[in-house]
C-alpha cells in the first residue's frame, strides 16, 4: 500500500515537474570539456540572470571525438540547439549540409570584424553561420625562475633562441623544452604553425599559398621544418612517446624551462604551476625583423538549423556579441581572446603578455586551416606527420616540402 502511494507520488511529481518547466532549455554542444565548470559557474548564470525564462545546458564531448559525435547527432536529429564551431571547413560543411542556420542578420554579428568572421563564412563571405567566440595566440611560455637561475634573457632572434636552449641543456637541471611527438598535433600546431609565420610573412605567404603563387617547396615553407629539425635534441629523453598531457605536466612540475604553447594553456598552467611564468613570441631571424604571430580564430558558436528553440538560441547568440560576454569569457578563460570589437580589460598577466603581441606583430592564422585541408590528403593532418618527421629527423626538410606539395597538388587546382 505504502509502495503504491509512493509510486503515485513519484509519478505525480514527474508530471507536475514537466508542466512547471515551461521555460526553454538550450543545449550547447562543445569539444571544450575543460571549460565545463566555467560555463556552469560563470557564463550560464550570467546569461540566465539576464534571461530568466531561458535555461542553458553545456554538454561537451571529448575534443578528438567531437566532430564524429556531432555529425552523428546532427544526422540523427538529436544534436543540441547551439553548436560550437571549429573554424573553416568542418563548420562550412555543416552549413552546406543545412545543419547550421545562417546568422548573418543577427545584431550581435555587427560587433565582429570581417577577419574575425572569416573562419565561419561561406567562401564568398555572403553568409555567416557561427558567432565568433575567441582566438588563441601561439608563442612560448617559459619558467621565469629557471631563466633567472641560468641568467637567461628572453630570446628575440632564432640564434638567441637556440643559444638559450643550449645553455639550459648544458646546465642539465631542466629539460630545455617540453614537447612530445606522440600526439602529433602539438608538433604541427605548437611547432610548425607557431614559428612558421615569421618565415612565410604571415598572411602574405598564407594567401599566396591559397592563390597558388607560392609552393610548399619554397624556402619560406621549408625553413620552419629545418628549424624544427633542431628541436629534437632539446626535447628530453623519450620525447617520441611523450603525450600532450605529459608535456603539460613536465612543464608545470618545473622540470622543463620552455613550453611551446598556445594561449589556451594559461588557465591550466595557472592552476598547476607554482613558479612564475612568462611568455615570449616566436623568434625572428634577425633582430628588428617584422614579427608575425599565429592569432588563430579558433572557436565560435552556431545554431542548429533544426533547433525547436530558435528564438531562444538567437537570444543567446546575440548576448554572445555583447561586451559583457566578451569580458566574462576572456577573464574566466585567460588565453582565449575575444574576437569582438569590444575593448576587453584582462587581469591575467600572462594573457596580457600574449595579447600585447597583437600590437607589435602582424597577426595571421594557421596556414593549413583555410581551404587547404578540404581534400585528400588533408594538408593539416599531413603537416602533423611532417612536423613530427622533421623533429625526429626521419626525413629532410626538403623532402617533406616536396611530399606535402605533391599531396596538395593532387587535389587542389591552383597548386597543380
Amino acid at each position: 500500500m505504502t509502495r503504491k502511494i509512493l509510486s503515485l507520488a513519484l509519478l505525480g511529481s514527474t508530471i507536475l515537474g514537466g508542466a512547471a518547466a515551461a521555460e526553454v532549455t538550450l543545449t550547447i554542444e562543445s569539444w571544450r570539456n575543460d571549460d565545463l565548470t566555467l560555463w556552469q559557474d560563470t557564463i550560464i548564470p550570467a546569461f540566465e540572470a539576464a534571461n530568466p525564462d531561458i535555461k542553458v545546458k553545456f554538454t561537451p564531448s571529448a575534443p578528438a571525438e567531437y566532430n564524429a559525435v556531432l555529425n552523428s547527432k546532427l544526422d540523427a536529429g538529436s544534436a543540441g540547439d547551439l553548436i560550437t564551431c571549429r573554424p573553416f571547413d568542418a563548420s562550412l560543411a555543416l552549413y552546406d549540409a543545412g545543419h547550421l542556420a545562417d546568422l548573418s542578420d543577427l545584431d550581435g554579428m555587427s560587433n565582429f570584424s570581417s577577419v574575425a568572421k572569416s573562419a565561419w563564412q561561406t567562401d564568398d563571405a555572403a553568409a555567416s553561420f557561427c558567432m565568433p567566440m575567441a582566438s588563441v595566440i601561439h608563442g612560448f611560455i617559459y619558467n621565469k625562475d629557471a631563466f633567472a637561475e641560468l641568467g637567461l634573457e628572453i630570446p628575440e632572434t632564432e640564434a638567441e633562441f637556440f643559444a638559450a636552449l643550449e645553455t639550459i641543456k648544458e646546465d642539465g637541471n631542466y629539460i630545455p623544452m617540453a614537447m612530445g611527438t606522440n600526439d602529433q598535433w602539438e608538433a604541427a600546431t605548437m611547432g610548425y604553425n607557431n614559428i612558421g609565420p615569421n618565415y612565410w610573412k604571415g598572411e602574405e605567404g598564407r594567401l599566396a599559398l591559397i592563390a597558388g603563387d607560392q609552393k610548399l617547396t619554397d624556402p619560406q615553407w621549408v625553413a620552419p621544418y629545418e628549424a624544427l629539425a633542431k628541436w629534437g635534441e632539446y626535447l628530453g629523453d623519450g620525447y617520441e612517446a611523450q603525450t600532450y598531457p605529459d608535456s603539460q605536466n613536465i612543464f608545470t612540475l618545473g622540470r622543463a624551462a620552455i613550453y611551446p604553447a598556445g594561449s589556451w594553456e594559461i588557465t591550466g598552467f595557472n592552476a598547476q604551476a607554482d613558479f612564475a611564468m612568462g611568455a615570449f613570441k616566436p623568434p625572428v631571424q634577425a633582430s628588428g625583423d617584422t614579427c608575425y604571430i599565429s592569432d588563430h580564430t579558433d572557436i565560435a558558436l552556431g545554431m542548429n538549423a533544426a533547433s525547436p528553440n530558435a528564438e531562444a538560441a538567437k537570444t543567446f547568440l546575440n548576448w554572445m556579441g555583447t561586451s559583457e560576454f566578451a569580458s566574462i569569457y576572456a577573464n574566466a578563460l585567460p588565453g582565449f581572446f575575444s574576437l569582438s570589437n569590444h575593448d576587453v580589460a584582462m587581469e591575467d598577466p600572462l594573457a596580457q603578455e600574449f595579447v600585447s603581441w597583437r600590437g607589435e606583430c602582424e597577426s595571421t592564422i594557421r596556414s593549413t586551416y583555410q581551404v587547404l585541408s578540404r581534400g585528400t590528403p588533408n594538408l593539416e593532418n599531413e603537416t602533423w606527420g611532417a612536423s613530427v618527421a622533421a623533429i625526429k629527423g626521419s626525413k629532410s626538410a626538403t623532402d617533406l616540402g616536396m611530399e606535402l606539395q605533391d599531396g596538395l597538388a593532387s587535389w587542389y587546382a591552383p597548386q597543380k
Binding site: 578528438a64 566532430n67 564524429a68 555529425n71 552523428s72 571549429r86 573553416f88 571547413d89 568542418a90 560543411a93 552546406d96 549540409a97 543545412g98 612530445g180 611527438t181 606522440n182 600526439d183 602529433q184 598535433w185 628530453g236 629523453d237 623519450g238 620525447y239 617520441e240 612517446a241 611523450q242 603525450t243 605529459d246 605536466n249 613536465i250 593549413t368 586551416y369 585541408s373 578540404r374 585528400t376 590528403p377 588533408n378 593539416e380 593532418n381 602533423w384 606527420g385 613530427v388 618527421a389 625526429k392 626521419s394 599531396g407 593532387s410
Partner: protein, 304 residues
C-alpha cells in the same frame, strides 16, 4: 494434427533471433556495401559504381595508406600467431599437468586481462611504458638492462610490435582456456594406450595431445584472424586516430574510422569509409573461407 510440412514451432522460436540479427547485423552490412557504391557531390548522393574502390586502390594517396594499413594488420596478426598461440598452448599444457598446485589461481590471473576494457589496458600500458612516468625504465635499470629501453610506443620501428604484444598479453587467456578445455577432454584411454606403448611425458604431448587439440588451435587461429582484422580500440586509445608515429600503427580499423567519421580538419567521408569497410569485410571473408574449406575440412579426420 499436421497441416503442412512446415514445422511452425521452429519458425516461431527462431523468428526473434533471426529478426534481431537481420536488423542489427545483416541490413547494416549490406547497407555499408551499398554505401560504398555512392559518392556525394554538392550534398547530393550519386551512384558511382565501383569508383570509390578505383580511388582506394588506384589513387596513390589512398592506396598507399590502404596497403600500409593492411600490411600492419598482417604483422599484428603474425605476432599474435607466433606469440599468443604457442604461449597459450604452453600455459594450457602446464595448467593441465595433474601435479601443478594452485592451478586455479594461475588460470584466473592469466585470464583477468581478457575481461579488462581496451581503454584500461591501453592507458595502463601507455603509462607503464612512458619514458617520463613509467616504471619500465627503472625496472630495466634495476636488472642492468637499461640499454634495452626505448620509447617503444613512440618509435616507428617498435610501436606496432609493442602494441601487438600488449594485445597478446591481454588475450592470451582465451587460447589458454580453449586449449585447456580441449586437453581435459582427451579421453584417458587414449593416453593410457600411449603409455602402454611407451609414449609418456613430452612425446605424449607432441605425438598424442597436440594432434588432438589441432581443431581447437584452428578455431583459435580463425578467431585471432577475425579479431585482429577488426581491431581498432587498442590502437585508438594508445595512438589516436592518426595511428602514430607516422602511421606505423595504422591498421584497417583506424584507417576506416578516420575516413568514415573524419578527424580534426579532415571531413568524414562515409562513402570512402564504406569502401574501406567493404575491403575489410572482403579480406575477413576470404580468410574465413580459406580456413573453412582449406583447413577445417582437413582437420576433421582427427576428430572423434
Amino acid at each position: 494434427m499436421k497441416i503442412s510440412g512446415i514445422k511452425w514451432h521452429i519458425v516461431i522460436f527462431l523468428a526473434p533471433a533471426v529478426l534481431v540479427y537481420t536488423a542489427i547485423m545483416i541490413v547494416p552490412l549490406f547497407n555499408t556495401l551499398r554505401l560504398a557504391l555512392f559518392t556525394e557531390v554538392d550534398q547530393v548522393r550519386q551512384f558511382v559504381g565501383l569508383d570509390n574502390f578505383r580511388t582506394l586502390f588506384g589513387n596513390p594517396h589512398w592506396s598507399e595508406q590502404f596497403w600500409n594499413a593492411l600490411g600492419n594488420n598482417f604483422w599484428f596478426f603474425f605476432i599474435h600467431m607466433i606469440v599468443q598461440n604457442p604461449i597459450g598452448i604452453a600455459l594450457a599444457a602446464i595448467l593441465s599437468h595433474p601435479r601443478l598446485r594452485f592451478a586455479a589461481i594461475y588460470r584466473t590471473a592469466i585470464f583477468v586481462p581478457t575481461i579488462l576494457s581496451f581503454v584500461i589496458v591501453g592507458f595502463a600500458w601507455k603509462l607503464i611504458l612512458s619514458p617520463i612516468w613509467g616504471i619500465t625504465p627503472d625496472m630495466l635499470n634495476a636488472v642492468g638492462l637499461k640499454w634495452l629501453y626505448a620509447p617503444y610506443l613512440g618509435k616507428e620501428e617498435y610501436a606496432l610490435t609493442t602494441l601487438a604484444l600488449i594485445s597478446v598479453w591481454q588475450f592470451v587467456g582465451i587460447p589458454m582456456m580453449l586449449i585447456y578445455a580441449a586437453l581435459l577432454s582427451i579421453p584417458e584411454e587414449v593416453l593410457e594406450a600411449g603409455e602402454v606403448d611407451g609414449i609418456t611425458g613430452f612425446s605424449a604431448f607432441w605425438k598424442i595431445k597436440l594432434p588432438l587439440i589441432l581443431p581447437s588451435i584452428g578455431i583459435i587461429s580463425i578467431l585471432t584472424f577475425v579479431g585482429n582484422f577488426n581491431a581498432f580500440d587498442l590502437i585508438y586509445t594508445t595512438q589516436g586516430a592518426l595511428a602514430g608515429p607516422a602511421f606505423s600503427t595504422d591498421i584497417l580499423g583506424t584507417f576506416m574510422y578516420r575516413t568514415f567519421f573524419g578527424f580534426q580538419l579532415q571531413l568524414g567521408d562515409p562513402h570512402m569509409g564504406s569502401a574501406i569497410a567493404s575491403g575489410m569485410f572482403g579480406i575477413i571473408l576470404v580468410g574465413v573461407c580459406i580456413y573453412l574449406f582449406g583447413i577445417q575440412t582437413r582437420l576433421r579426420r582427427y576428430q572423434f
